[in-house]
Symmetry: C2
Subunit: 357 residues, 2 copies
């Protein structure tokens, strides 16, 4: 693998026009050609400006980054029937696959199904409480039948869009079945050295977690339950997951979102908006887990984070890769000169438009 | 106007659940109701976490920010004929409005027009040089006729997407007529005080500039000519526009893009990708203009920048507002708790997908 030290970069004194032509040509290379860069049999393609001066254009990283983005944006299988739009109180809040549409027909008090057209929460359910109760009744039945698994007792808001009054809540574990938008907060915890180099705290998820056990993760991350502000959720999760006291956690800066839509096995649609935060931690601080959800914390140079994400998607919880890549873009470690930059930016926020009604 | 000091924030010790409900409700308020916040007749809506602790949710700012985004994303006039897709070498690179389609029919050596379907650069023009020459010949005729104005002698790349080998170049002033993607670099020049507060250098464009004379702008910004890397362009523009020496300018970090599509009078389509950079400048440094394009530089507290953008779009060059708003999002001054946050994020990058073929 091309050594990718992106914090200490060397200068290649090449003409920029030449670099531009070579870099441009690289975008047309076949996957086979990419492989030769990854195997280190070709020199880096171009000189680019990056954090703290000129940097290598690490093409092997870009290829891996784009793969990670694709793994979170999985489209509908070819030939598979399009899921039906799902409406609550006249507003589309999600989408439901055919196998679940059939199931929901068993509950006519809760759902009105117009075959091939749409699914509506019964319009007679005209208050927040009635709707929430209907979701709850159906969800518990589907959990008994084993259709909904991994019950969390965590109510997720069902809304037209984030920040609008929720029309109802539904159990977090049911979000994929209804294809409703899920929200979460992920915190990039990093340390800045005296020389400006950055290191990032990486968490290894507990081997006993129901989802992505043993995988790498941000220092702190969590779902966004109904009735809690994202910034307050950050404070809570910082304490639970990494023993970061409120005084430190309050410095976490919201920096935007990462957003994707993914068709999963079993007719589930993950639509996720992750509110990203940057939290600069002091040099001596060491995170400790309080809720049993993390097995270890590691402080990695940023190039090790990049290398690990680019070379092995399997070690990471997929959406955490996107959050770390977004961090590297915002902090100048991935530059416009690298072929694929626009594709990467697009993939990191491909789900944003779906969040707006 | 609600005093919007977003660098020194006060804490409102309100329950977060309450804040969440109130904040949510705000999103449903009519424009009339928004006005009462702007006029200061209502209290701020909610407590949110922002840079350096809790902050007011400055709803009046959000309304203005969303307006600025809309001003750069103007859709096709209702009832107006859809522009035809424009192909070069089999790749769609732009779009051309009906009035120009008619004009281009005069140049059958250069353009092949299929009425109601598409416009193609003549496929016989099968090299970069032939295509570039054809664009040049036609553009000069159209400039003589007054259809193309503000000729710059700046070749813009005509490409499938950024970083791929250009199929041709065309004069910058013709980009809107063909609806090809334009690229630029904008640099947020800022100063960080010892207490962490940020100030931003704001430029007032020269009164004699052909576009947006006298308007506010980033400290440095420029178009992205063919054959120059964005990072190298940043160094060049930093010297020309603000006398920022190479040693300082090299610290400019690429942080992503702002992207929009705008239908303008005269059948022109602006499709723009702006590569954004953050450049932290030392406390005593004062920019000076070298090329006559800037009349003055001002170092403003960030809340003054926000206030100015939110309250008066007219004072700013429109796309510069988007770059400054993006800075405020990435640096934690605009938070997910503020109603409209997702809409704002969407609008800042609404043109990204158009940049990918």
């Amino acid at each position: 693998i091309l050594s990718g030290n992106i914090t200490r970069m060397k200068f290649l004194g090449k003409a920029f026009l030449m670099a531009s032509i070579i870099s441009a040509a690289a975008a047309f290379l076949s996957p086979k050609s990419w492989a030769s860069y990854i195997l280190g049999t070709r020199a880096p393609l171009c000189t680019v400006w990056g954090r703290q001066g000129p940097a290598f254009c690490n093409v092997s990283h870009m290829e891996g980054f784009l793969k990670r983005v694709d793994e979170c944006n999985i489209p509908l299988e070819e030939g598979k029937e399009t899921p039906l739009p799902f409406f609550v109180a006249g507003v589309q809040v999600g989408q439901i696959h055919q196998e679940h549409v059939k199931r929901l027909k068993q509950f006519p008090d809760a759902f009105t199904v117009k075959d091939g057209v749409d699914v509506k929460l019964n319009e007679k359910l005209d208050t927040f409480d009635l709707r929430t109760k209907a979701f709850d009744t159906v969800n518990r039945k589907l959990a008994e039948e084993g259709v909904i698994t991994g019950w969390r007792e965590e109510p997720y808001a069902v809304s037209a869009e984030f920040g609008t009054p929720p029309l109802a809540t539904t159990e977090r574990a049911s979000a994929g079945l209804y294809g409703i938008m899920s929200y979460g907060v992920h915190i990039n915890g990093y340390v800045e050295g005296a020389d400006g180099t950055l290191r990032m705290w990486v968490a290894r998820r507990s081997a006993s977690k129901p989802t992505w056990p043993g995988c790498l993760d941000q220092v702190v991350a969590g779902g966004q339950p109904h009735g809690v502000q994202p910034g307050d959720n950050v404070l809570k999760e910082c304490m639970e997951e990494a023993n970061i006291p409120r005084e430190l956690a309050q410095a976490a800066l919201p920096t935007g979102v990462v957003a994707y839509q993914c068709q999963r096995p079993g007719g589930r649609t993950s639509r996720e908006i992750i509110f990203t935060y940057d939290l600069k931690l002091p040099e001596g601080f060491v995170p400790e887990n309080n809720d049993g959800e993390v097995d270890e914390f590691m402080l990695w140079p940023l190039d090790k984070v990049a290398e690990s994400i680019a070379s092995d998607g399997g070690e990471w919880k997929p959406n955490c890769c996107l959050v770390a890549i977004d961090f590297m873009i915002r902090h100048g470690f991935i530059t416009p000169e690298q072929p694929g930059y626009m594709r990467l930016l697009h993939g990191l926020r491909a789900g944003v438009s779906a969040a707006i009604n």
